[in-house]
Amino acid sequence: MSEPNSKAKSSAALVQSRRNALRSYLGAYGFMAPAGVLVIIFFLIPVAIVLYLSVTNLASSNFTSDLARMEFIGLKNYETLLNDQFARKIFFNTIFYVLVTLSIFNVSLALVVSLLTTHIDRSAGFVFRALWILPRITSPVVYILIWKRMMAEAPFGILNQFNELLGQPTYNYVSTNPWVFVVVVNGFIGVSFGMIIFTSAIESIPKDLLNASLVDGSSRMQRIRFVILPLIRWPLLFVVTYQTLSLLTSFEEILLLTDGGPGLYRTEVWSLTAFHRALSNYFGNAQWGYGSAFAVLLVLIGVVLAVIYMRVFRFDELIAEPRVEAL
């Protein structure tokens, strides 16, 4: 009698255990569901649609929103793209833009601003950080108009008016150094994101660690090098990853500032080309299908980079349960 009873008990326990596991899974998936639905609606479905558009010859002259009526042309758009004499240039422009803006502004300058503003009077630090956030919260159109007005050639530009006052030669700054301005204008926006992340990370370092380093005789620079930087490693990697992907897809400031010029695509980046092809053309007849091919390749590059970053930077460790709690 006791054997069946114990079997029944263990069976009931097994069922209960499975129920608990299921409940736990359902709970986890339930909490993830809203985000999952958003990813499906706003990423996976659009990507699938753009992927389909890229294998059609959809243009203004045969435009339809009915997927079944679009003319399938296979990989023709990709063939045209790969044969485009400027595709390689635009690709390397994009790499250059992302690397330079990321390394100089979005990470390095953001880190410097964070370190400086956390090492001065707290309210003064707050004021300086607030100033650095201004480019981020200003409408892109207004922000670029301000830059254009500052940099315009004589007698219209503010800088050139100073040059004239000082008897110096005047310049068409943006045309002469387009990349400098594309990087600086975007970099000033990008600094704020890293600055907020780094500042909060620095502020959350336990004060006794920082004080201990001072008691041990470290200089400020040594404290930054050997205490602060190792402790904000994860935020640093996160900013690098996030800002790389963000810069890859950003183009509105370049569109407004140089529109990819001057000359032959000198500051044209991949996402701007996709926009030019699919959505913006002086004479109309936008090439939706061809532009989508550019967009699909950008999505692929983004996904590949995201996976590489997650592997190289070991993001699984970042989000793993702390070992002390696992015990």
């Binding site: 045969n62 435009f63 001057p262 000359g263 959505l279 004479f283």
Partner: protein, 447 residues
Amino acid sequence: MKSRLCLTLLVMFVMSLLAGAAIAQDSVGITVRCKASPPEEDWRCNSFAVVEEQVEADLGIDIDLNLIQDNAGWGDYKNEFVLASEAGEAPDIILSGHEDIGAWAPAGFIIPLDDVIPLHSEFDDIVPSLWDSHGYAGQIWGIPQDAEARPIFYSKLLLRDLGWSEEDIESLPDRVVAGEWTFADMLATAEAAIDEGVVDAGNGWWHRPSNGPDFLYYYYGHGGEVLNMEGNLVVDRDALVATYELLGGAVSSGVLRSDVIGLDWNEVWHPTVAQADTVLFAAGGTWNWPNWSINYVADKGGDEFLFENIGLTLIPAMATGNAITLTHPLTYMISSGSENPDVALALIAAITTPEHNNKHAIDSFHLGILNAQLESEAYANNRLLSSAHYMLDHTTALPNHPGWNAWSNAYFLGIQAVETGEADAAGAADIAIAQMQNELGDGITVR
């Protein structure tokens, strides 16, 4: 007593509902979409409001007219119509460049008008040559709204500084028409002005700072063609090379700035040219004049200042030996989604009169589209219009073809290449042709 009052109120309520329904039933909704630079081009849409009552009386209907007019960029404006058409929300009447017929007719977004044009006698008076740019696949798809010329504006002020007599200056347009003063002469004059310090290097001649129809006349001026007899796209390599040689040569001789493409229209180009004291020759459009008068030199006397200091002439003769210009008529097209195309056309017919079109022509310095208009007192006595109307006899136009944007974008790439020094003329032609062939495939013939 109370119930009688309630009954009366109920009857009144029902009657008002019925009356409202009756009005709604007879009301015909017409939406018109126009792009216009305010205030000088506002008649493009506002004219419809003026004739609304007249058309209502003629047709015995009530029109619920909805005018949507702004100055959006052309690319956005055209995309808006394409997307609205597909969503079933297109305006009944869309005003746009005639070249859009080449994309919107095959897409089925607009309707052909051959059968209904004869129903309105107003259209009989339209200058016949204007219909040429409204055709596609053997049919007419739009009604001309305006015409214009794209001239060279010359600074009288700077020519005087260069030592030109008043007679030389005033006779310039005639000498250009006669082919006595050519594009080469223009460049030589600009070089002389730079050498003598009248203008700075790069300010001898400015063309437009962004892609647009104007650039095509340099190619036409060298004998180039865009369409062959069968209506297919072609590119003439020799004409292309010659065009790029002209533009690249102007940069290397210091007449034209290498960074003129990319200058901001409103921040730099218009304010500089309108002052007449910096740039000797500028390639623009007739409609620039009222814009300058209102927005850039109003404090100096507006029109009077411009008449005193700026003149306009045809584009001087290039290789073909003929002075030319380019007309880019805007056209009213009727959406295939319109439920009342007959009413839409009646409204267009009502504003296609000398009286209404003159208002637009005079305010915005666009050229007339009707024969009677050209003879009307208001038009003939207008100093500006009378100084430019002859240009229509020397005009060219863009093609109506779905591949035109790919052609023109590639052509513009060559211009950018040669002006920034990234390629010589032959190299720029190679770039443009390779781009055309890659994007148009068999749809382009290189000659």
